[in-house]
């Protein structure tokens, strides 16, 4: 086709004009490429973060509303429901069986729970506040105060490893021995370094705990591990000392609780806490609706860790928005510059159009030649620009992703050592994703929802098909912008007009 031949000749014979246009396109394309790949890798990162993010829901009592309703009852003369104890009785208790009902849901990937009670010790002494390094237990569980009938030790039973959030986030770390298997029924426990030091206890020792309401009832636990507490001293409770915590499995503690409740007088006060890991961020609404249907009192509110996801993603979302804005501005300014340059060039091109038309070349052929010319110039500019742009962006974006992956991997290894497991002892293949409450150490990988392979794949996805398609679309757009001026001349004016109007 002679039009191609013509276009090529026209490009090579009018170098200065085309080099200028190509240079502008190179700058435009490089900027667009950087902006696009930042935008796309940000989107990918957000996606993968959201995919691997564990959405957790937990239930909290809305005390304010309770108090309000209680007072309402009082003023209405309903003395019975004005009393806090009686009022509480009317609210369905959050016990393990209801937690299991709530957890048995298509929206729940897994769930865990803890129970806590206070017991006295026999032959072991609690760490007093003065002795400890001003490290106190975090609040929440066991706010009963140190009254006579409340035990010296706060005993917590965990349903699974991921229930032990202090170990997962690194606040606690096993220094000797290892974590008990939370799915076993054995009376194993781990204790703090302070408690071990005070009573000269070591791994394998037996400790005896006593029911604070009835001294005859005693329970024996074997120490499998001793942990250190790395928490900031700012987290403390006035009444209980974190050093006096004894951690055990849910099954073991539950056996204790059931044994004690055989008699009314020895019944222990227990506090139950649950966390539900949801399948995705989209099911929160549906899950809380389901809970209400399953009979959860309206005084309980469903809270999630979604806020923290949003705040984590905020900077990268801002980066993505910035990249998009940058892209639009670059395209607008670049497009305007291209039109202006073409308007300056059109005097020369106008003569060419007039000549081609006066020797009988059809409008669409002239148009075709001009578009081909612009497209070839733009395309070569875009290719060069994309190469420059990607050499700038890819290493940067890869670095961003790499550090992301490394921190994810470090987290997993660190958690293994927090539990006192060697990294090797943990099976890295993710198990079946059943919503089972009992998850042992083989399931630890699941706690972090990560598969190493998926992170590595994302590295190659930065200059991906999407980016290339977008760049080509930008190229077409720039071609249209660039050739729009000549298109107007070609289609609107007769050759004689063009030739006679040129000066």
């Amino acid at each position: 086709m002679y039009v191609f031949k013509n276009a090529l000749k026209s490009i090579t014979r009018t170098k200065s004009r085309n080099i200028l246009i190509a240079l502008i396109v190179v700058v435009l394309a490089a900027s667009c490429c950087v902006a696009l790949s930042i935008k796309n890798s940000a989107t990918n990162l957000i996606q993968s973060y959201e995919d691997s993010y564990e959405v957790e829901a937990w239930l909290g009592l809305n005390r304010q509303e309770m108090r309000f309703d209680m007072n309402q009852n009082k003023t209405q003369g309903n003395e019975e429901l004005g009393n806090p104890q009686d009022f509480m009785k009317n609210i369905a208790e959050l016990d393990v069986s209801s937690i299991k009902t709530y957890g048995d849901s298509e929206y729940v990937k897994s769930y865990y729970y803890t129970i806590q009670t206070n017991l006295n010790g026999s032959g072991i002494e609690k760490v007093s506040m003065e002795d400890s390094n001003v490290k106190y237990m975090t609040g929440g569980i066991g706010k009963n105060g140190e009254s006579k009938n409340v035990g010296d030790f706060s005993v917590v039973g965990y349903s699974s490893l991921d229930a032990m959030t202090n170990f997962v986030n690194g606040t606690y770390k096993i220094t000797t021995g290892e974590m008990f298997d939370p799915v076993s029924n054995d009376n194993n426990c781990v204790i703090s370094e302070e408690l071990a030091e005070q009573n000269e206890l070591s791994i394998g020792d037996k400790i005896t705990l006593v029911n604070p309401n009835k001294e005859e009832k005693t329970y024996e636990f074997i120490i499998t591990g001793i942990y250190s507490d790395n928490s900031e001293s700012s987290e403390f409770s006035m009444f209980s000392n974190a050093a006096n915590q004894i951690l055990t499995s849910y099954n073991a503690l539950n056996a204790v609780v059931e044994n004690s409740s055989q008699e009314e007088e020895s019944t222990l006060m227990i506090q139950t806490d649950a966390r539900f890991k949801l399948v995705s961020t989209d099911v929160i609404e549906a899950f809380s609706k389901e809970l209400t249907e399953k009979g959860l009192s309206s005084y309980y509110t469903v809270s999630t860790n979604l806020d923290s996801l949003e705040s984590t993603l905020k900077p990268i979302q801002n980066l993505s928005t910035f990249a998009t804005t940058f892209l639009i501005i670059v395209l607008a300014i670049g497009g305007a510059i291209l039109v202006i340059i073409n308007m300056i060039n059109i005097r020369e091109r106008k003569y060419e159009i007039g000549v081609l038309r006066s020797i009988g070349m059809k409008k669409h052929m002239v148009l075709g030649q001009f578009v081909i010319e612009t497209f070839m110039v733009t395309l070569s500019g875009i290719i060069i620009g994309a190469v420059i742009g990607s050499t700038i962006t890819v290493p940067v974006a890869n670095k961003m992703l790499e550090s992301e992956i490394t921190s994810m991997e470090e987290e997993t290894n660190e958690v293994n050592s927090n539990f006192g497991f060697s990294a090797k002892s943990v099976n890295m293949t993710p198990g079946a994703n059943e919503a089972t409450p009992g998850r042992g150490k083989n399931d630890i990988k699941e706690v972090f929802g990560g598969e190493n392979v998926s992170y590595v794949d994302k590295l190659n996805a930065i200059i991906d098909v999407k980016t290339i398609v977008e760049l080509i679309l930008i190229g077409v757009l720039l071609t249209i912008i660039s050739s729009s001026v000549s298109m107007v001349f070609i289609s609107r004016y007769s050759p004689l007009k063009i030739l006679s109007s040129r000066t």
């Binding site: 000749k9 014979r13 009018t14 000549v355 006066s358 009988g360 059809k362």
Partner: protein
């Protein structure tokens, strides 16, 4: 039988001063025609109308029994009439040969080696191979004019319209060009229409139309 016919052609530019007034000319194949007239008498204007670049304000231009305002003007210009413009209308970024080949390409001419054909045409109008391979702006006015002539002949049109084709040429070259035009008409049955000031060119023509006279006749 006339190949080309102007019937009552009127033309004026935007200022409404009549440039062409009731022109009635007929052209036949195998003849050389000369259109003469003073500068500004409307010769180039007439050629623009005949080449379909512009339309008469009234009257008709008939080519091969067709009103040219009703046919595909691009095809008409690229296949049927070869125009030598007074201002040449050559593409400056192309060489002489490339300018000629371009017209052959547009006419979709089926010849073996277009470059070879173009070169022999350029040789015929007096340009050697070295000049044929120069860009247009590196040629003199007269040389450019000869490229324009070669281009008009390149696609073997039935009609050749030439606006002052020897305006920039010396006596020797003028003779050579008029000889080419005469041969095209007499040997190849082309209809050659030459606009000219030159008395010698007019004298070599078979028929002379004087635009000035047409006006006087009307007055």
């Amino acid at each position: 039988m006339s190949l080309f016919k102007l019937e009552n052609v009127d033309y004026y530019y935007d200022n409404h001063v009549k440039v062409l007034d009731n022109i009635n000319y007929e052209f036949e194949p195998s003849k050389v025609y000369a259109i003469t007239g003073k500068s500004g008498s409307g010769k180039t204007t007439l050629l623009s109308l005949m080449s379909g670049l512009d339309k008469p304000k009234s009257g008709k231009i008939i080519y091969n029994d067709n009103d040219i305002s009703k046919i595909d003007e691009d095809k008409y210009r690229s296949h049927h009439v070869g125009v030598v413009f007074q201002s040449f209308n050559l593409l400056p970024h192309l060489t002489a040969i490339e300018n000629v080949v371009l017209s052959m390409d547009i006419a979709n001419l089926k010849v073996g080696n277009k470059k070879q054909v173009a070169l022999s045409l350029l040789n015929e109008v007096g340009l050697d191979e070295e000049k044929a391979n120069r860009r247009i702006l590196k040629l003199s006015g007269g040389e450019q004019q000869r490229v324009a002539i070669a281009r008009a002949l390149s696609f073997q049109p039935e009609v050749i319209l030439a606006d002052e084709p020897t305006g920039n040429l010396d006596m020797h070259n003028e003779k050579q060009i008029t000889e080419i035009f005469r041969r095209l008409a007499h040997e190849k049955n082309k209809c050659v229409i030459i606009v000219t000031h030159s008395n010698s060119v007019a004298a070599s023509a078979d028929v002379v139309y004087d635009l000035e006279k047409a006006k006087e006749n009307l007055a």
